[in-house]
Amino acid sequence: MWEFIFDPIPKRPRNPVMYGGVDTSKPDDSAPPARSVPAFDRISRRRQGRFMSRPTEGVAADWIDVIIRIRDHRDETAFVTLFRHFAPRVKAFLMRSGADAALAEECAQDVMATVWHKAAQFDPTRASVATWIFTIARNRKIDVLRRQRRPEPEDLPWGPEHEPDQADAIGLQQESEHLGEAIASLPRKQRELIEKAYFGELSHTEIAQQTGLPLGTIKSRIRLALERLRHAMDRS
């Protein structure tokens, strides 16, 4: 039932409605929009400087561009693009964790609104946009479905002047894409097991006993991502 999609453009009928001036009938609701002007050139605010100021490459970087437009310009068109791509995935994630369709949709709504509000907290040296949204969705799941508090680690003592290193950010975004490709290239059964583990469908005991959790090829990718992150943290 659940499969990874390699062509991430869902063929769904769309309702060409205008949302208060925001055109939601854009032809492609699933990929980040191509940039006309490199976002990192346009936007370099030192005080809020949690982003790079020059362009990177790849889809992961395009999503960063979308987050910057949300952060700095409260750009609803950018938000709708992000919503159309991620809200269905967040909804699916929550349904797999046991939420019914209505609750999952309500949570997806909250998750996407959180993305809007917390856009200034996103740090591209530490996560891709997909990873950041994954963590918000997971925390929402723990809150709503498991009715538990979620203790989070103390933040690193980064001052407001912390300027993410661009090389770290580019490296991390590229690493995220490679990681995604590595997962996509796994045999189907293995991919499904990875999905189950990260979508919270296995218990801790099951994960601990999964000597065969097929991390094989992605293990080296995880290790590379880990090294990037270590490096980024050392510099901060």
């Binding site: 952060r71 538990q148 979620r150 203790p151 990681l179 997962i183 880990l226």
Partner: protein
Amino acid sequence: MTINHHLTDDLIRSYSAGILPEAMDLIVATHISLCDECRAALCAQDAVGGAVLERARGEAVSDACLDRTLALIRGSDRAAGPARDTRKPDAPHDPVLPAPLRDYVGGSADAIRWRPVGMGVKQAVLRTKGDAKARLLRIPAGAAMPDHSHRGIELTMVLKGAYSDADGRYARGDIEIAHEDLHHTPVADVGEDCICLAVNEGPLRFKGILPRLAQPFLGI
């Protein structure tokens, strides 16, 4: 600070997946607060979660849902103004309790409400939901914890001082992962009292008769 004893990959992965009982989440978050190595490992695990989310097939979301979300963000932007990084700086650094623990204690180490459990050992049970229990332990310098074993795993993290048992020596930041039925008797270093965070999946089983009788009253 050098940390020698770390979280296991499967604990970090489970924390990332959000499937642990609250008490286990608490000890994982507390360790990561002090340990850059495990913090990086968590980011890497989250990255796998992100990659899985990115490539997952979605469930159709209604346009009404988008409408409601847009209404939500417009409404709160009017109320709160544009996006700012609204995170509060962490409370002044506490030499004993990292931020996640301060939230549960309701302040710094002075705010811990210790209860004696015998032989000079004190504890404070922290309020968490789910199948695991979290408590702070204070073992007097040079003293031993009552010999015990447990069902499920027991995680112990040192916050102040140090202790040793058959498996090694544990100082601030170190986490010991003891598996089911391991009998161990941690002994605190002589220099100062040892404060730990201990999390158990199942109830403890003490060897001696007295601690066993006392157990129901101690909530452990």
